[in-house]
Symmetry: C2
Subunit: 227 residues, 2 copies
DNA sequence: TTCATACTTCGATCATAACCGAAGCATGAA
DNA sequence: TTCATGCTTCGGTTATGATCGAAGTATGAA
């Protein structure tokens, strides 16, 4: 009777809270062991094992054996993008999870969105680059202008390397905390990586929070002034 | 313990087969009554009523009362886009629904993807326009070239009207049957609408199939030659 | 070998929610 | 008013699957 792809399968996989927690945790981009994911989701190892095997069978996760550990990660960017899209829709409709923990303010300030910068700082960077005509918008599409090429070059980004990848250079991503656009794509990832290299910021272990140093914060504000 | 948008809620809503069927049916873009959706999903009116109220409460559907009928439609483009993204991922992973009905070949040839043309014809149109430099690709981003502006103008598309809308003019959409890209966005919708106006094609009632007339097919092939 | 750790499989329990029959409530027609 | 239609609410049944304890398998360390 029904034709077409089975979205109910994908939906029900993401629809279980324990699995949704695991997937959200993996949005950090880091591969994690089965036990770590179990702890994160608040379930026992047995239950987690069952969930993880379902997610892997369905092709949402990949698994890498290393000694007696099994590391799990999102299968590819497309899975990450889908999760982002669902977060965007959920946030817009006001479907937030009940308990907002103590990490929440830091998370709203600056966090990783799979592999690029999100939160207040992510939006600020994007706005600043648009205001100074380094980025141009056309609906949902975003391009790096010539001036922008010079700008990221001075920051120490090797554009040719980024353009080699099959990923689009610039992509817009809806920020769930700010409800505004920030920069994703290869350039978004490249910029965040560059901030790490410059020592401006580092990741807080076990969370999506990106913590800026005092000096890093100063340089970041200098580099991306508000309008 | 957990922060952020509740993707599990959205996932579980889409994760029920009956609801997924209803949502997929509404991808045609047409508003349907509760009874029609119940029949489509193969459930009784009572059960459908419960599902529909959940989907409406969550903000995935909108409802319009008209006499004693209640018409349901997808809440907005963002919901449609999410469903498309899930179909793309499901198709790529090989998660297809069991029974492929008799309408399947027609569906693969030409169908509506929420509001634009998909299937073999959708992909062909896209490829043809890229080959002749009417459309330019940059990763996932797509732009209409100057030559392209002339081309769609000759077809009778009023570009300024399309650009007035808040939707992006060109957007890429992954075709689940062809596993290749076709054209979405305001221009994608505009082109399909123009084909209806020109009498080249019409929708088959109660399905996503787009049926071309003999003459329409000839004109379409003329307009979008293969490489 | 022996033991410890990381993970999976099995089996049983239990909560959730999908489902339908029956009854109720609107809306429109006669 | 009376009746028919479209849809919702209520109540009870049933199936699904999330969960964990216990036992089993693989890997590495002593």
């Amino acid at each position: 009777m029904k034709e077409g792809p089975d979205i109910a399968l994908i939906g029900s996989l993401i629809g279980d809270p324990a699995r949704a927690n695991m997937l959200t945790t993996l949005m950090t981009g880091k591969a994690l062991t089965a036990s770590e994911l179990a702890a994160e989701a608040g379930i026992t190892a047995q239950t987690a094992s069952s969930h993880l095997s379902k997610l892997e069978t369905a092709g949402l996760l990949t698994q890498r054996k290393q000694g007696r550990h099994r590391y799990f990660a999102l299968a590819d960017d497309e899975v990450g993008n889908l999760l982002e899209a669902m977060m965007g829709l959920a946030a817009k409709r006001g479907h937030m999870r009940a308990r907002t923990g103590p990490r929440d303010p830091a998370l709203r300030k600056a966090r990783v969105c799979y592999n690029h910068l999100a939160g207040d700082y992510g939006v600020r960077m994007f706005d600043s680059m648009v205001t100074r005509d380094f980025l141009a918008e056309d609906g949902e599409e975003i391009f790096l202008t010539e001036a922008g090429e010079g700008f990221v070059g001075e920051l120490g980004i090797a554009l040719p390397d980024l353009e080699k990848s099959r990923r689009p250079l610039c992509r817009s991503c809806l920020d769930w905390s700010e409800r505004r656009t920030h920069l994703a794509g290869a350039l978004g990832t490249g910029l965040l990586d560059r901030f790490y290299d410059l020592g401006w910021a580092h990741r807080i272990e076990g969370s999506r929070v990106v913590s800026f140093t005092g000096e890093g914060e100063r340089r970041f504000r200098e580099c991306f002034p508000e309008a």
